[in-house]
Symmetry: C2
Subunit: 338 residues, 2 copies
């Protein structure tokens, strides 16, 4: 059995404890400075306060300042921070890793370079520590459901096939199904963009609510039209980033789960129903809005790279960016997709 | 303004009357022998009994034996039958069409040739009447929602670009958005297969019900895993049929809408919850089960064409076929997708 150290005690990071523990590993859960209350509470009664479930890690709970202790002898480190925690991870975790360490990252997101090219986080982290093997998780997964042991099928991607396989062996269970992939660009593009496009699909949910009133039945033709357009644009973006066409299926599955997944749907629904973004942001105060950050960043990157062509090739993403950053009306101009 | 004759008064055929009428055309709605009661009822009070909505066609209602009268001077004929009505359409409608006529087909399905190759219906119909231009509709559309004027984005495909454009001009409205496509194989493969795979995604809905009991919350990780696998297999099948990769986005959107669309979801949910197919079929008596026909046909075609490779490349479709035709247990063997 192995030692698995999870750095970041948010919902998804913490949920990774379930398959790891079910495989008999020792699991150490380390909070970031933002997770202090989560660790404090878990130390009291073993309960994860945002997941709303008991954690299966026993006494192996660590605050951020105990990170180096939690890393001692670890066979696998899971990077469990959100995209807003990547800089903290790079500064705090990376220097502590021994050469040859293996890191599996669940962080969604992309970094923009000056020329508008986009770098997946695992590649960025690898550029800082080339002597560490970075892998990453993609594909559809709601943390609650993984924690409850529902069947979940994800991709583990990385350039070091042996490291990917080692991660898979440590974490695959009867309900956590893992396909290895070498397509870091494609899988990570899908992972990052699904939040932006789930907001896009949810615009239709909000628009139908506005037209019919609260509690009215959903309308699937407009949702499906935006879903298809989202898959179209995600597929284009995967190709533009040099990813493999086959990774688009992960994007479609990930989009499906995210449309039903909570905060991104809530934001898109509010926007679609006509609430301006500043007000929507206020109503959702305290909720991590990765969808907003990724939409803004990627649209800016596409403009730098493609100029005016960007909006013609990615009309839904451009529309989302305009709603968020230019106060544009949320009504969809469907003819732009035709 | 033009004359549009819709042959087949089922739900989708009849719903096509809405955009046609909104564009000011005369719309003639012709029932097949199976639609006799629909036409009778509509003649009484203008109401479509299965759509549950008034029809906007006025007096222009025809029974099957009045077909030739309904075709007089028609600028466009919409083939509005289900896949089970294609032979009737071929025998009854095709001989009545003048040379140069334009037909837009909404029929979902594929025909298997002896060697296991699959032919989309528009191509099959064109082989019977090469002097007629056949186009077809693909993409996500629930008939009720089109009838109610909700935004809907579809593809019109055909080999005769001028005919496709003519159809588009006649039917595009402010809510019915139409993208022209020359990829008949890709679009029609998506159209046909979405019923099979929507049944596949719904297996997870049934399995969660069985595990948790009726009325319990849905579980999206397993649904999304099957959704991604479905997109993967539909993309492969489009490629195998010689369709374009870009048409996979239509498949994804069409799958999304079909998962929420009614009868296919009901069948998949029953099967997933452990009800054997013969019993499920009985419970759904009277419901058109295109999903069953297409799953059986395409799996047989793939076996003829690919031999044992068929199941390895299309494991979800093979599983569905085994449930329907060999009484196999509905529990998904997830490792086959890894």
């Amino acid at each position: 059995m192995a030692i698995v150290t999870i750095v970041g005690a948010g919902m998804m990071g913490s949920a990774m404890s379930r398959p790891a523990r079910d495989n008999g590993h020792t699991v150490r859960l380390v909070g970031t400075p933002l997770d202090r209350e989560i660790i404090d509470r878990a130390r009291e009664d073993g309960f994860h306060k945002t997941l709303g479930r008991p954690l299966p890690v026993g006494e192996e709970l660590y605050q951020a300042e105990e990170l180096s202790q939690a890393l001692e002898g670890a066979d696998l480190v899971i990077g469990g921070v959100s995209s807003f925690g990547v800089d903290w991870l790079a500064e705090t975790l990376l220097p502590l890793l021994p050469a040859g360490a293996r890191v599996l990252s669940i962080t969604k997101g992309l970094r923009m370079e000056a020329d508008g090219s986009l770098t997946p986080f695992p590649r960025y982290l690898a550029s800082l520590r080339p002597d560490v093997a970075f892998c990453a998780v993609g594909g559809p997964c709601i943390s609650f459901e993984l924690m409850d042991g529902w069947d979940t099928h994800v991709a583990f991607c990385g350039e070091d096939g042996e490291a990917v396989e080692a991660c898979r062996r440590l974490l695959a269970t009867g309900y956590y199904h893992i396909t290895p992939s070498s397509d870091v660009r494609g899988v990570e593009c899908a992972v990052a963009m699904k939040n932006a496009y789930a907001m896009g699909v949810s615009l239709a949910i909000g628009a139908a609510l506005r037209a019919q009133g609260e509690g009215s039945p959903e309308k699937y033709n407009p949702q499906a039209a935006l879903f298809a357009q989202s898959v179209r644009e995600m597929t284009s973006l995967i190709a533009l980033m040099g990813g493999e066409a086959g990774s688009a299926a992960w994007a479609a599955g990930d989009l499906y789960v995210t449309v039903f997944g909570g905060r991104t749907r809530r934001l898109g629904t509010l926007l679609g129903s006509g609430v301006p973004f500043p007000e929507a942001r206020e109503r959702l105060a305290g909720v991590t809005l990765e969808s907003v950050a990724i939409t803004t960043l990627v649209m800016e990157a596409l403009r730098r790279r493609l100029g005016e062509e960007a909006g013609r090739r990615f009309p839904l993403l451009e529309h989302l960016d305009a709603i968020l950053n230019q106060g544009a009306d949320a009504a969809v101009d469907w003819e732009r997709f035709v």
